[in-house]
Amino acid sequence: MKKFSMTFYDSSSAGHPFVEEFQALKAYRGLVVQFVARAIKTRYKRSMLGVMWTMLNPLLTMIVLTVVFSQLFRIQIENFPIYVLSGQLVWIFFSTTTSGAMGEMLWSGELIKRIYVPKSVFAVAAIGTGLVNFILSLLPLLLIALVLGNPLRLAILSWVVVIILLSFFSLGLGLLLSTATVYFADMLPVYNVLLTIWLYATPIIYPLEIVPQQWHWLFRINPIYYFVEAFREPLLSGSIPGWDIWLPATAFALGTFLIGGLVFTSKSSEYAYRL
């Protein structure tokens, strides 16, 4: 099979577009780094407290919800602040990377018409940027957990696996949405509405216990539920979750990545015509 090369091009090469795309991506890894650096730089350039600003919104949500649930609903949940904050970090990563992939794809339309780049660099760069922000926000999360008397256990090392799985899931969905956004310009606002519904359908800002048992099947068909659970569990209980969490999380991650990657690459030679 022919490999992607900067010095040889055959438009009728028989290689599979999915494989070729990732070979091209490897050759253009420097571009991914440039895109990520650009996004991080423009975000934190003007503020020394950049990371703090990123955390401000989830922290405020955490405080408000803790007061609401403990004072108004009189529901006592152990570690509720950490429960809310950790769930939000997973959600922020997922929502910003997927909508970021779509936005970059739209923004880069003029570029794609003028110069060759592997089309998936935009989605991959969105994941890279999300990862940097996610890792930066882990420090405040761990600090707050310690301050609130939550002991840190070795089980949090399993986060590495959670983050990898979540990245593959988000990349797959981001590629799928990027394909859609090439054909339908209003896909991005539609997706933002869907994200709001999706957030409320996931136990992130409310305790699982307040949802009646008959509705719990809704969580079991929700991929984000598994990633949120796998991320929270080591912090809240100090133990690694069981296979009932890992298996669906892995299946959703790899399945979405494969579907998204295949759909995206099967259409990617049309993008220069369409955007």
């Binding site: 900067m6 010095t7 040889f8 091009y9 055959d10 438009s11 009728s12 050759a27 253009y28 420097g30 571009l31 780094v33 440039q34 650009r38 730089k41 423009t42 003029e110 570029l111 794609i112 018409k113 003028r114 110069i115 060759y116 780049v117 054909y183 339908f184 310009a185 209003d186 896909m187 539609v190 030679s269 220069a272 015509y273």
Partner: protein, 252 residues
């Protein structure tokens, strides 16, 4: 034995083999999902298809200076884009041997908010150059583009000429095997145009192949050996530059 060597040396570095490109334009601009679904249900999704290129054949040898002439909308830029991997031909095949520097639009890939310095690295990465390579060539790029102390200012403060100069300097910072040049020499002042031409000629002496799209017949005649004349996406004439340009000018 010697025959084989000759044929190998004469293997074209650019082969455009019976290439056709079809654009599909919807009758009306459908941008929304709702509209699309309604039309689809009514089975009224119709596209106007037109061939931007029809059965074009070209083979360009190593070290050649090749011209593409024709009226606006004749398919010149589309042809160049199929060589630059930007557009995949609907029919036919394009084979390129060597590293290609596309000079289709010198401002493409620059970010207005980033400084000239940051843009050099970004644009280098877009062209597939590594950070290290761009780092080594950095001073030379700045010198050639004559940007001076503006290098640390955001790109939005640059004039069109400065952007074009920077774009040309980055794209040609490492000698490419193939240069695809689309009218870009019309930007910038005469002095800079001369500088660009001098660099292109120097590259060519070292074996670079150059494909030039231009509306200036004097320039095409002065630079190119062979040329192609495109008319409505089809090859109207092909061969020695003087003959092709002569035929084209007569038809105007």
């Amino acid at each position: 034995m010697s025959n084989i060597n000759i044929t190998q040396e004469q293997k074209p570095v650019i082969l455009v083999d019976s290439v056709s490109v079809q654009y599909r334009v919807p009758h009306e601009q459908l941008s929304g999902i709702k509209e699309y679904v309604i039309r689809w249900l009514q089975n009224r999704l119709q596209y106007k298809k037109f061939w931007a290129l029809k059965d074009v054949f070209l083979d360009i040898q190593r070290g050649e200076f090749f011209g593409i002439v024709g009226r606006n909308g004749a398919g010149k830029s589309t042809l160049l884009k199929t060589m630059a991997r930007v557009i995949k031909p609907t029919l036919g095949r394009v084979v390129i041997l060597g590293r290609t520097a596309p000079l289709l639009d010198l401002g493409a890939g620059f970010h207005p908010e980033l400084s000239g310095r940051e843009n050099i690295f970004l644009n280098g990465a877009l062209l597939g150059l590594t950070q290290k390579t761009v780092g080594h060539r950095f001073d030379e790029i700045v010198a050639f583009s004559e940007i001076g102390e503006f290098i640390n200012a955001p790109l939005r403060t640059y004039s069109t000429g400065m952007v074009a100069r920077l774009g040309f300097a980055v794209a040609t910072s490492v000698r490419p095997d193939i240069m695809l040049v689309d009218e870009v020499l019309s930007v910038g002042d005469t002095q800079f145009q001369e500088k660009c031409l001098a660099r292109m000629n120097a590259f060519r002496e070292q074996g670079t192949t150059i494909v030039l799209v231009s509306h200036s017949m004097e320039r095409v005649k002065a630079l190119c050996e062979r040329a192609i004349w495109l008319e409505d996406g089809k090859v109207a004439a092909q061969g020695k530059v003087s003959a092709v340009v002569g035929q084209y000018l007569q038809a105007l």
